[in-house]
């Protein structure tokens, strides 16, 4: 079993979930409460990764952000290297690729909050930020948890983008899904099997735990 790959995938998934928790919340808030007439365009952009194959994102990161194109040159002058073959590159790709898995549940959660309660908080003098943290977020905790879990899980399961832009560097970009693929390709079925089985059990376990918590959170919310 390749512990290095497992640890890398866990690290990547945790970073992605944390970034999307912080960056996804404002986007979801805006998508839920904005009345801008062209809002649907932003919603469509957020949902793009649900439809696009990972190869599209992989292609743009590899070529569009490659050293031969302007965005890539700009990136290179800021950070000294291009995105492909780095952990940062995988992080950028994964955040983009998991965006709808965080924003959509967050937004669905916000929508379940009674507008009356939000407006009541505002009329009582609470700022928008305070209202968000004290009223909206607690009442939509289930959506928040679901969003974080889904983006974590989706990153663990990511394969196509990583295969295209990762370059398969041990400890840097060789994630657990790539490791299983390599072992299977090389005919090392025992190694592939042990890692695959561990991943299967781990994924089931973590999802069960979090859905369990989620259910309790939901029932608490219903009682109150």
């Amino acid at each position: 079993m390749n512990w290095e790959a497992i640890a890398l995938s866990l690290k990547l998934a945790m970073c992605v979930a944390a970034i999307l928790l912080i960056a996804g919340m404002p986007i979801a808030y805006w998508v839920t409460f904005s009345r801008w007439r062209w809002k649907f365009l932003i919603e469509a952009i957020v949902a793009l990764p649900l439809v696009l194959p990972p190869t599209v994102l992989g292609y743009y990161i590899l070529v569009g952000l490659g050293p031969r194109n302007f965005p890539g040159k700009l990136w290179q002058s800021w950070f000294g290297h291009t995105l492909p073959f780095t952990f940062g590159g995988l992080l950028v790709a994964s955040v983009l690729y998991s965006l709808p898995f965080a924003v959509q549940p967050f937004s669905a959660g916000f929508e379940t909050v009674d507008r009356g309660l939000i407006e009541a908080a505002w009329t009582l003098g609470a700022s928008r930020l305070l209202t968000f943290f004290r009223v909206i977020l607690p009442l939509s905790a289930a959506g928040a948890i679901t969003g974080v879990v889904l983006s974590f899980a989706h990153t663990i399961g990511e394969f196509g983008v990583v295969l295209m832009v990762g370059g398969n560097i041990p400890g840097v970009t060789r994630t657990v899904s790539i490791d299983i693929y390599d072992q299977a390709q090389a005919g090392n079925y025992d190694a592939a099997n042990s890692t695959a089985l561990a991943l299967l059990l781990f994924s089931f376990l973590i999802l069960s735990i979090i859905y369990g918590i989620n259910r309790r959170a939901l029932s608490l919310w219903r009682k109150s």
């Binding site: 031969r68 492909p84 398969n168 390709q185 090389a186 005919g187």
Partner: protein, 281 residues
Amino acid sequence: MNQRLVHGSVVGARHVVPLRLAAFALAWVLPLQSAGAAQAVQKPCGVVTVAAASDLIYAMNEIAANFEKSTGCALRVTTGSSGNFHSQIENGAPFDVFFSADIAYPKKLETDGLAAAGSTYLYAVGKIVLWVRADSRLDVGKGLAVLRNSSVKKIAIANPQHAPYGRAAEEALRAAGIYDAVKDRLVLGENISQAAQFAESGNADAGILALSLVRSPVLKDKGRSWPIPEKLYQPIQQGAVVLLAARNLQGAQAFLDYIKTPAVAALLERYGFALPAKEKT
């Protein structure tokens, strides 16, 4: 993996289309498809499905076009890493002929009873080269030692775990005594054409690539290369074999016979392959 479909139709149906409309569309498409199938059967050898190592990606396109023209058969070529194909074929992949970049894979298929014993044909010997983009400042004329240069941040090779060209690249780096110095800068392509793409796109500063790819129309004018001395790595002996489970055994055999013709040998030579069969005769 790249697929080249000669006879194929893509039926796309949006699930939002009302059922009646879908049924209407199907009524149109189905007769067309069966007409296409009937046409294929009339041809002398129908459709031959080929799995080819990625170093053949460009050469095989030319070979396929010539073969189709002269025989009327249709070829469906899939390219990828040889190790991957070997795994897939062992697990029942529906290919008729397998062109491996490493003759060990088809030989293994023989031992496992998936190909006729002794039927593997050594069609070519591959070579590797050091390659940089035309705009690179590296002087490849200095050989592999140039990779020690600190401006070389990433070096693309194929994955040595399952791609024969990757194994040869690693061997050559070890033989040149620079493997330890550069091993942290290696990026591994899933197959040799992905490694070429890493180098061609400029994301890797240099690559150890198949000569056959470097000589292809796509890469020919895009960079400079240095032939890696053949004493630094085991010869990349490439073998082709007809699979016993082939759905089109006759067509597959016809294609393998075609590969042995002087026209194909000349074409392979033009792509930089050495031809052991030719030297013997």
